[in-house]
């Protein structure tokens, strides 16, 4: 039996509200990781400090990629709203590619650090760094999988009110990750030289 439109609306209203609450809990999760990082930042176990290890310019490149992806994601939502299916799909693909580029840069940074002997085992400071930035990276990977599923879903079902609402949740998540990254960029990378 098919759903009535009102019933479906009510369900998505709840889902979106619940998703905002989930984002709130995720903020607490990141806040705890930020606090941990800040407290352990100086505990380098006589190894290299943040200022010596991190390159803000490299992180700026990552920031630009992620912010742009957030922008294209937002426009994709608008395109979906105005039922421009091809444009929406194109923008969603762009978003995912930018996200992919971002996570590749991050993994490359991690690999470089580890090759230089600066792994998470080296000091409490680096444990905090890898965990904080890595948790964000893990979220990005989940976001990429989610985005790919959205892509397949929109291709299959077309622009419907269902796909629009499902996309809204995805874009909330993606913008949220952008926001968290701005804090990481500020506190971890720009803050490194302070």
């Amino acid at each position: 039996m098919k759903h009535s439109v009102a019933r479906s609306l009510e369900k998505y209203d709840k889902a979106e509200f619940g998703f905002w609450l989930y984002l709130l809990t995720d903020i607490i999760l990141f806040a705890s990781l930020f606090a941990t990082y800040m407290i352990l930042r100086g505990n380098t176990a006589s190894g290299e400090s943040a200022a010596a290890l991190f390159d803000p310019k490299y992180a700026l490149l990552e920031t630009v990629l992620l912010l742009t992806s957030s922008f294209t994601c937002g426009i994709a939502g608008l395109a979906l709203r105005f039922k421009h299916k091809r444009m929406a799909l194109g923008l969603l693909v762009t978003t995912l590619l930018l996200g992919l580029a971002f996570i590749s840069l991050e993994l490359n940074e991690f690999a470089t650090l580890i090759n230089e002997g600066q792994s998470w085992r080296t000091s409490a400071f680096l444990s905090g760094f890898f965990t904080l930035v890595g948790t964000h990276g893990l979220h990005i990977i989940i976001g990429l999988i989610w985005g790919a599923v959205m892509l397949a879903y929109i291709i299959k079902t077309g622009v419907t009110s269902d796909s629009l609402r499902k996309f809204t949740l995805f874009s909330l998540f993606w913008h949220f990750l952008d926001l968290v990254w701005i804090f990481i960029f500020t506190i971890v990378y720009l803050g490194a030289s302070l």
């Binding site: 809990t25 941990t36 998470w120 085992r121």
Partner: protein, 657 residues
């Protein structure tokens, strides 16, 4: 070749098979019990019935019952742990050896605390909220029924892991909060601490999802007309608790994850070398841990508010102050965590701040106690079992609260920190507040779920035995604490302590009889369910909407969603003879379909936990991918509900009550 074998078996090895007689007995006993249960279900051909009616059910009432069953079973294990501890301290004086080795004893007290908080108190809490919250709000179900089922099965997965440690590998010896550096790899290389971490992590994520679910349910699914200020106080207490869950549980997730990273990937968050900071762990865990005790006790306060008003036949005294007290406790509970470790050395000013905040929290709590007493004042009180639990609560909880305020004085806390005094204090508030509260709630709402009442006299006996047993068991611990006995003690040299420890053991035995009577009450009421049948749907002359539907509540809760214009809506309707529902108001109803998603996610999460504990990375990867696939399939399923038509419903309801 051996590398390949290592890859597949991780660190599974015969050396972790238990050898001590007591643990060995448990290791053999638990699988036998499991086999008997499985055999019984197979013999009576109940698998299909079980799967369709219970395991895949997304009906909040059934989910609540499953939480309750797990919680009661776990309570039996937790109480046996308690009994073992007090038997040990009753004899192990002056070099005399108790029945347990030090290592077993450590595992026993760790298991006791962990199980009682995470799997008994939390289980009773989630069970009761699932039973009652939708009904009291005039709603058909939780906001996210399938997520509700996922929460339940994550809880069960955590419970299975903690019990599996008994069979293979041993449990943590680090206390219920697992303080590092003791729980770090350096001092604890075995799988025990990992069992502790992943069991709690999995159950904790379930709790977090429940918090989101409860909050959304209250905000979005209240009956039309029921503004926040017209909500029954029980739903207020759940609202406040779910805020606490959402704000506190992510901190637990992070804390456990960081300790897990230390242990599995060799990080240095809390190690004693390479820059690690164990005190950071203790701050983090209590930033969750202190709100956690309010997460447990506030719903119990909510239960008492309903119980006292109902059995006194009076409107709750000071509804608004009750709500503001809940909200005040919610805020304050986040700024007192440091009182758990005044001895850390944070300095006099910091200690003074947290000490004063701790004392301040006693004010809203006191307001609530007085409001309940004023509700009773000049009421027509029925002294049935729920009221007896309430009276036991007032005495016990108040003593516990006062000893808590005493310990909020940092100078005094330096003396009694980590002593038996502390142990007595928190049992005073948790048994007196949480356990008595949930027992009152279970007795009160039992007929609404099962259709028959619990035997009242046996309930009163259980409450009396618990209360007496409690005093005999814990008052000696206050004295022992002041005499210098520290907690977690498996032997001592001062013979003057022994009589007090023996008294305490006797108290535990009395509590055990209280539990036996409680189980007897359940069994006897089941046998006499015909005589105890609740035919009216409103056996206690109740005040709120759950009593407006028949008992047991139908799976759709309300045939017609009620409109609530009054705080005690059902009471108001009874006073004004408005209790019938006309046929014209019946509408089609959408109900969620049963779903296997919850149990599948639960099994996968349990397996994932097991594979991290034993370093089976291939299995972990499989579980991870399977969870992702399950979740994706679920979210893309738009056809998750079925319809019951208005006429069908009307005929099912019969007279159209």
């Amino acid at each position: 070749m051996s590398q390949l074998v290592d890859f597949f078996i991780g660190r599974l090895s015969p050396e972790y098979i238990p050898t001590e007689p007591i643990t060995l007995a448990a290791a053999i006993g638990l699988p036998i019990i499991a086999l008997v249960v499985v055999g019984f279900i197979t013999y009576t051909k109940r698998w299909k019935w079980l799967w369709q009616n219970w395991l895949t059910s997304v009906d909040a009432k059934k989910i609540g019952t499953m939480y309750m069953i797990v919680a009661v079973l776990m309570m039996l294990r937790g109480v046996s742990d308690a009994l073992m501890m007090r038997l040990q301290t009753a004899v192990a004086v002056n070099g005399a050896s108790g029945p347990f080795t030090s290592d077993t004893f450590q595992q026993v007290f760790t298991a006791h605390g962990t199980i009682m908080i995470f799997f008994v108190a939390m289980g009773l809490l989630f069970g009761l909220v699932n039973w009652i919250l939708p009904l009291i709000l005039g709603a058909r179900d939780m906001a996210f029924p399938v997520m509700n089922s996922i929460s339940l099965w994550l809880f069960v997965a955590g419970m299975m892991l903690i019990n599996m440690s008994l069979v293979y590998g041993g449990f943590s010896n680090g206390g219920w909060l697992g303080y590092p550096p003791l729980t770090e790899l350096e001092y604890n290389p075995g799988p025990g601490v990992d069992y502790w971490i992943w069991s709690l992590q999995i159950a904790g994520i379930g709790s977090l999802l429940s918090g989101i679910n409860f909050f959304t349910t209250i905000i979005k699914q209240r009956a039309p007309g029921m503004t926040l200020w017209k909500m029954p106080i029980f739903s207020w207490s759940v609202l406040v608790t779910s805020v606490l869950i959402m704000l506190a549980f992510p901190i637990l997730t992070v804390t456990l994850a960081l300790l897990g990273l230390d242990r599995t990937l060799g990080m240095h968050f809390f190690t004693s070398d390479t820059g690690g900071n164990p005190m950071l762990y203790i701050n983090l865990i209590w930033a969750w841990g202190h709100p956690e005790v309010y997460i447990l006790v506030l719903p119990a306060f909510g239960v008492f508010s309903e119980v006292v008003a109902t059995y006194s036949k009076k409107m709750l005294f000071g509804y608004r102050t009750m709500v503001w007290a809940l909200v005040a406790i919610m805020f304050l509970s986040f700024i007192v965590w440091q009182h758990h470790f005044f001895t850390m050395g944070a300095g006099a000013n910091v200690n003074a701040f947290f000490g004063i905040m701790t004392m301040v929290i006693a004010i809203p709590t006191g307001v609530k106690i007085f409001n309940w007493l004023f509700t009773m004042y000049r009421g027509r009180i029925t002294f049935s079992a729920p009221m007896m639990w309430f009276m036991a609560f007032v005495v016990t909880f108040t003593i516990g609260g006062v000893s808590g305020v005493l310990m909020a004085v940092p100078a005094l806390d330096f003396q009694v920190h980590n002593s038996m005094f502390l142990v007595a204090h928190f049992h005073n508030v948790i048994i007196g507040g949480v356990i008595f509260g949930f027992f009152a709630g279970i007795t009160h709402w039992f007929p609404k779920i099962f259709g028959y009442k619990l035997h009242d006299t046996l309930g009163i006996w259980s409450a009396v035995l618990w209360q007496v047993g409690f005093i005999v068991a814990f008052i000696p611990l206050y004295i022992l604490g002041l005499m210098g006995a520290v907690r977690r003690l498996d032997s001592y040299s001062d013979p003057t302590w022994q009589p007090l420890f023996i008294t305490s053991a006797v108290g535990v035995l009395i509590i055990c009889t209280g539990i036996a009577v409680l189980l007897l009450q359940l069994g006897y009421s089941f046998l006499k369910r015909k005589e105890l049948k609740d035919t009216t749907g409103d056996p206690w002359d109740g005040r709120t909407l759950e009593w407006s539907v028949p008992s047991p509540a139908p799976h759709y809760n309300f045939a017609v969603i009620p409109t609530a214009n009054h705080r005690d809506e059902w009471w108001y309707r009874k006073q004004h003879k408005l209790t019938k529902t006309p046929k014209s108001t019946f509408k089609d109803v959408w109900l969620p379909r049963s779903s296997g998603t919850g149990i599948i996610v639960g099994v996968l999460a349990g397996l994932a936990g097991f594979s991290i504990i034993w370093h089976l990375w291939w299995l972990l990867a499989i579980c991870f991918i399977s969870v992702i696939i399950t979740v994706i399939r679920r979210t893309l399923n738009d056809d998750s509900e079925f319809q019951v038509s208005a006429t069908e419903l009307f005929h099912e309801v019969g007279k159209g009550r």
